[in-house]
Symmetry: C2
Subunit: 328 residues, 2 copies
């Protein structure tokens, strides 16, 4: 008996989840739910169906875990509490400042329905958060650093695309090597925003657009670029499509700390990921936590959880005996 | 009310645990237990005492978690099941092949006494094991690599010291850069023992010892050195004491995997540690899991656990609300 998964939303993340399910032999995709007309969507899993979200209640007993693949701005704050009334749910809610509020809303729904909800799953929040907690619990006296990239920031790419005269654009966030090296050497540097990351843009212009004016507009854009050293490259559409159509990302979490009574000893913990596809990797994390949600609920648990509340063994297809014998 | 900790064994690890407790404001060291005469041991914590292990039963209600700092060869297989009858216990049992048997023995004791035991805590087994489980659950199709070092292998240093004519010796295990780079590039290489690690020895000879004979004896020693490229350096005692008296270690766990339906995307997860003092870092991990054992037992849990069974939140001094607000 496989774990029956549903997906809400079929963008990059939804497609990534579909793909990840195929790599987990204990799971099957039952249905993809959409607000659009189901006819407009063609999925890759022949055994699954596309359904309208209006019919979702009919799937209450046909789906074990619903994976929510919408956005954090408007979709998830409504959807996760709503669908936790019917299903075990997983989301990747990533508006850090609003997590406590989102947690409270989802927890209320999930406790009432007796379901398990795991929110803010992915890599940041998600695996990076986990590594911050582990590293802080081990090295209690120390300093944390998070670097993102090299990778595509969707938000910054969108901001550039909104400028008049820009036809298409992609923005890469890049950690500054000297900053990373100083952290690795245990120097515990105080780093400004500008010292930590570079922003590099690849921009395709509309015919007749003023390149130098647009470059200036990008570099001075408050919140997005003004506090960074920004490189702007203008390229043609062919080059854009050839070299900038994928969605790589990555980054690293470091903690540098000291121990010892007489002599002070330095230690460095580093967790680093390098991803060809940000949405596909995030999807893999979502699917592993879907397994955990299913198991926890089978044991009688309910309410909202985060990655901090889930013992690692719940993520694995292996039994506890296998894990101890082969992975410890 | 602080978590009351006891330590059994006062070698490098025991001293490391004492030092780590000082960095955790919710804990206090109550007593160090020794098989030697308590008079022979001088500890750094003025509020704690040194007691003979024969009196340990008297501390049943005075200590919340006992941290066992003996060796895996003979101490822990006896001590952990024995003292799990009286206390919540933590050990760093690291004989990978015997973990299932050790787990069963400890589980039986801890279930009977209603205590929590967490075994094989440290970095390998321990944090490296955790990272293997997380990375395998996320990237289900992929390949694992573990590299150790640069750092001191106690077992290999001991093996060199046992050779006639050797006065003192230290052995460093060093990952081979080309192997690590190939893994990081996503090439999924098949690596032999020799291709993964170099072994470098620093040896002080007794007067009149035959250096070339000893070098040969080291390089051909089965199990320890014969399968590796080994560098042997002969140095005098002054240089040995100056440059080779600390116990650094480290290493990395990598998983390289693929995702995607049409196009195959590569991903790399890397967990890396660099430690000035192996025993002090290991001690910090033991102490964090002591907190978890105490909390789990307070909630009514009992039996033997490993790092796979412990949700990360249990390791942290922070409340779940604080964790969500600041670390997610």
């Amino acid at each position: 008996m496989k774990i029956r998964i549903g997906i809400i939303g079929y963008g990059n993340l939804g497609r990534g989840v579909e793909s990840a399910i195929r790599q987990n032999s204990d799971m099957e995709l039952v249905a993809v739910f959409t607000r659009r007309s189901p006819d407009c969507i063609s999925i890759s899993t022949s055994t699954a169906i596309v359904a309208t979200i209006a019919d979702i209640e009919n799937y209450k007993d046909k789906i074990d875990v619903m994976i929510l693949c919408g956005g954090s701005a408007t979709d998830l704050p409504e959807q996760t509490p709503e669908y936790a009334k019917l299903f075990n749910v997983i989301d990747s809610f990533d508006t850090h400042a609003r997590i406590p509020e989102h947690f409270a809303n989802v927890d209320k729904s999930a406790k009432e329905s007796g379901k398990v909800a795991i929110i803010s799953v992915g890599w940041d929040p998600g695996m990076f958060s986990l590594n911050r907690v582990y590293a802080n619990a081990i090295l209690t006296e120390g300093k944390d650093y998070t670097f993102w990239g090299k990778g595509v920031s969707q938000g910054h790419s969108d901001a550039v695309r909104r400028i008049a005269g820009v036809k298409n654009a992609k923005q890469y966030t890049i950690p500054v090597d000297e900053a990373v090296d100083a952290v690795r050497r245990g120097e515990n540097p105080e780093l400004t925003t500008r010292q930590k990351h570079i922003r590099e843009c690849f921009v395709v212009l509309e015919d007749g657009a003023d390149a130098s004016k647009i470059e200036q507009e990008i570099k001075t854009m408050p919140n997005y670029f003004a506090d960074y050293d920004t490189i702007v490259n203008f390229i043609d559409e062919a080059e854009f499509n050839k070299n900038h159509s994928s969605i790589p990302h990555g980054g690293m979490v470091l903690r540098s700390g000291k121990t010892g009574l007489e002599k002070q000893n330095n230690h460095l913990i580093e967790y680093k990921i390098k991803l060809d596809s940000n949405p596909e990797f995030t999807s893999c994390v979502l699917v592993a936590y879907a397994r955990a949600a299913y198991r926890l609920n089978s044991e009688g648990a309910s309410g909202c959880k985060t990655v901090f509340d889930i013992a690692p063994a719940y993520l694995s297809q292996m039994s506890n005996e296998q894990l101890r014998a082969t992975m410890l």
